[in-house]
């Protein structure tokens, strides 16, 4: 494996164009949540004098990137986020076939710049992305062989890292006005209207940047339902945007839960960003049914802590006034009972993240739990709203021998 990496480094030394994927941003990247290893040790190694032994230890990062990315490359996590980017030059008429065959032979993705731009030349560039540990040369030679190309195209390999493209995408975010008086502002921009309710977000790796129609639909629903002092549950919180918005619009407190540790980190960061009291909004990482041990090293939660939180959550069942779940069709269908069980009788429940054609399916599943189901739609996406029925019985949790039923209606236990 090391031999192959050295090979790549040699390629880079050749007089070939070094492909910068993004112009480096003028702001320094803050020590972000993606790095797991202690940054001090990482920086120490980076500034170490150039030793050949370092080549063998791990891939050496190009020195010009050091001030901008303070991530360490030591852990498997970081290595998993790096990628190999290959630029291949080939004739226009072969480009289509070549990109298809590269995909078959192991490229993660291929992209072709539009043909009409390069009308002068007969050749165009294809950019392919490979996973870090793949044998690029074998893959390319197989691809060339399979389509019968009679010339060997020139290509250059470079190593790309996560910060290259993340920053570029983040620059495209602008403040967006969801409804009158409610703005969602990315962390690095100024709010256009200081009087309005502004929610500051770091639109990072978790879902919920505020621009998607489902987020807008949910926020509009929240605005309609909130009168002040409610308990809100954000089921599938992502970046925490709905929970934060609820507190800012008058809810007493909100709780956000998610199965993705990245989302929990992102939500906690956004809560701090909005200067919110952490007691106003709590975020929990819950395990999905499939895996009881989540890959949640970043949240620093041991299994005992997680069990404690799950018990707290269980005791919170039946306490929430408003619940909104903005996820996807399949989770919504499977977790119907779980979602509804968190609400008190007569609670408002909102469901989104579904396409307009999927509304009927969700309506059928939820009609046994909710009354007055109504749907609002925007740009092909839909949001359903219903009122939790009174007198629903749920098995709350099972002990080994029996299922304990808790009556959520008027009768005592």
């Amino acid at each position: 494996m090391f031999g192959r990496l050295q090979h790549l480094r040699l390629l880079r030394c050749l007089p070939a164009v070094q492909i910068p994927t993004q112009p480096f941003p003028p702001i320094a990247v803050p020590p972000n949540s993606f790095s797991v290893a202690p940054p001090a040790a990482a920086l120490q190694r980076i500034f170490c004098p150039r030793l050949f032994s370092l080549y063998k230890l791990r891939r050496r990062r190009p020195s010009e990137r050091v001030p901008f990315c303070s991530r360490s490359t030591q852990t498997n996590e970081a290595a998993a986020r790096a990628y190999l980017s290959v630029r291949i030059r080939c004739r226009k008429r072969d480009a289509d076939m070549l990109s298809e065959s590269l995909l078959c032979f192991g490229a993660s993705s291929t992209s072709m710049d539009e043909l009409s731009d390069s009308h002068d030349l007969d050749e165009i560039w294809i950019t392919c992305i490979f996973a870090v540990n793949q044998d690029v040369h074998t893959c390319i030679s197989h691809a060339i062989g399979s389509i019968g190309l009679n010339y060997g195209p020139n290509y250059e390999v470079s190593v790309g890292e996560e910060c290259d493209w993340v920053k570029g995408v983040q620059e495209t975010f602008h403040p967006v006005e969801v409804t009158a008086g409610l703005w969602i502002v990315p962390k690095w921009r100024e709010p256009p209207d200081l009087q309005a309710t502004n929610i500051f977000l770091d639109p990072g790796m978790a879902f919920g940047t505020g621009e998607h129609p489902t987020t807008k639909l949910c926020l509009m629903l929240l605005r309609k339902l909130l009168h002040g002092g409610e308990q809100f549950l954000d089921y599938g919180t992502g970046s925490g945007i709905l929970g934060i918005a609820a507190v800012k619009m008058g809810a007493a407190s909100s709780i956000g839960i998610d199965i993705d540790p990245q989302a929990v980190i992102s939500a906690r960061q956004n809560i701090a960003l909005n200067d919110m009291d952490s007691s106003k909004m709590l975020v929990y990482l819950v395990g999905s049914e499939a895996d009881s041990s989540c890959p949640g090293a970043e949240t620093n939660m041991g299994p005992e802590e997680r069990t404690l939180l799950n018990l707290e959550l269980k005791s919170a069942k039946g306490k929430f006034d408003i619940i909104i779940a903005n996820i996807l069709l399949n989770p919504l269908s499977e977790l119907a009972k779980d979602i509804v069980s968190y609400g008190k009788p007569g609670a408002n429940i909102g469901l989104s993240g579904i396409l307009s054609e999927q509304v009927q399916q969700i309506k059928e599943i939820y009609s046994q739990y909710l009354d007055d189901i109504s749907a609002s739609e925007m740009e092909g996406w839909a949001c359903l709203h219903g009122i939790r029925k009174e007198n629903l019985t749920f098995p709350i949790y099972r002990s080994k021998d029996k299922i304990m039923k808790k009556d959520m209606g008027f009768l005592p236990d």
Partner: protein, 154 residues
């Protein structure tokens, strides 16, 4: 969703991106991240849209996606059903085709499998104009090239 043919005349295209993403599992991480990030497309919107549209497939089925990125940082995409080779490998229960197709048989599947695969493929935009029979023939050809035998009954 508008087809590529409608929009290609209207907006200037920046690039065409081809990807393989597991159904319902699009995340803003490689492979999606770098591929779309370099054209400054809205990753979250793509992930959410893609996941919502592939809910009806079994999770983690590798779907081929072709994204057309426009110069104004918007995009359209088409989701295609998984490749025939993937279906055949699944149906036959093998990890890869045979090393010497024609000489060494990797596994075998029934004609019923072929028919089922053809029905799924018929929904694909590129195969719409073909009859089921024609699609079956092409699937059998692919199977032959992988060293997978087709039998009447297993």
């Amino acid at each position: 969703m508008a087809t590529l043919k409608d929009v290609v005349v209207r907006r200037p295209i920046a690039a065409t991106i081809r990807l393989t993403v597991p159904a319902g599992g699009a995340r803003p991480a490689p492979p999606v991240g770098p591929a779309l990030g370099q054209y400054r497309l809205n990753l979250m919107a793509f992930c959410k849209d893609f996941n919502a549209r592939t809910q009806k497939y079994k999770p983690d089925t590798p779907m081929a996606v072709t994204i057309t990125a426009y110069k104004d940082n918007t995009f359209e995409f088409i989701v295609k059903s998984p490749s025939v080779t993937w279906f055949l490998k699944n149906a036959a229960g093998v990890e890869s085709g045979s090393g010497r197709p024609g000489h060494v048989v990797a596994s075998s599947i029934t004609v019923r499998h072929v028919y089922e695969i053809a029905k799924i493929k018929q929904a694909d935009p590129s195969c719409k104009h073909l009859s089921v029979e024609a699609i079956c023939k092409s699937i059998m050809g692919t199977a032959r090239s992988m060293g997978i035998q087709i039998v009447k009954d297993l």
